[in-house]
């Protein structure tokens, strides 16, 4: 069964460093998303991506964040200068664009900023 994959599973970085989180969405899906979940809190929407551009972003997704689909399979989230408060689980999700609207989530990347 197709699934969303994410790498790495855990990333530790120092404050101020750049990190890139990687995702491979389900192959025939057209809509891609990043969400984050701070420990003990809700899953929060960050950004949606369709047709090679951002379609919507939340207030959390400021100038420190960027997304890219560098090739036909990968979807990346870059944080330019990490802060302590960026520590969270980051989930990638994808949606086919047809039929029902469910999004399928990856296993997540745990980002720890020290």
């Amino acid at each position: 069964e197709p699934e969303v994959t994410q790498t790495p599973s855990h990333q530790v970085t120092q404050m101020g460093q750049e990190v890139i989180l990687r995702c491979v969405p389900i192959s025939n899906h057209l809509y891609f998303y990043w969400y984050r979940q701070i420990l003990g809190q809700k899953v929060e929407f960050l950004v949606s991506f369709y047709n090679n551009e951002i379609s919507e972003k939340s207030e959390i997704f400021d100038d420190q964040f960027s997304v890219e689909r560098p090739d036909g399979s990968n979807f990346t989230l870059k944080i330019r200068s990490t802060k302590l408060e960026d520590s969270a689980m980051y989930f990638c999700a994808s949606f086919s664009g047809t039929g029902s609207y469910e999004q399928y989530f990856g296993p997540g990347t745990r980002l720890t900023v020290t």
Binding site: E102, Q103, P107
Partner: protein, 111 residues
């Protein structure tokens, strides 16, 4: 602003003891309401989509229902392997189909 409130925050059941989880929502125009299961340290796993009031969906011991203001996830004769956090999320018309999540109900089923 779309809002989702789930109750209770935590629920402990004995194996076989049926119960219901609640999800109340306010949304500008509901495109869909989604139920996900989340195990510790893992990503949300899709369970159901509901689109309109009166709709019901079933999967094994789970049944989801929808009204104009809330959704229920009924768990019949739960087993310990049903222990997880159950998340409710809404998707609004006019959006890029992003999901707004509730805080979840942490379900523990004791053997």
């Amino acid at each position: 602003e779309d809002q989702v409130t789930q109750s209770p925050e935590a629920l402990r059941l004995q194996e076989g003891e049926s119960s219901s989880l609640n999800c109340s929502y306010t949304v500008s125009g509901l495109r869909g309401l989604f139920w996900y299961r989340q195990d510790p340290g893992k990503g949300p796993e899709f369970l159901f989509t509901l689109y309109s009031a009166g709709e019901e969906k079933e999967k094994e011991r789970l049944k989801a229902t929808l009204t104009k203001k809330e959704s229920f996830l009924h768990i019949t004769a739960p087993k310990p392997e049903d222990s997880a956090t159950y998340l409710c999320a809404v998707q609004a018309y006019g959006s890029a189909r992003q999901l707004t999540f509730g805080s979840g109900t942490q379900l523990t089923v004791l053997p």
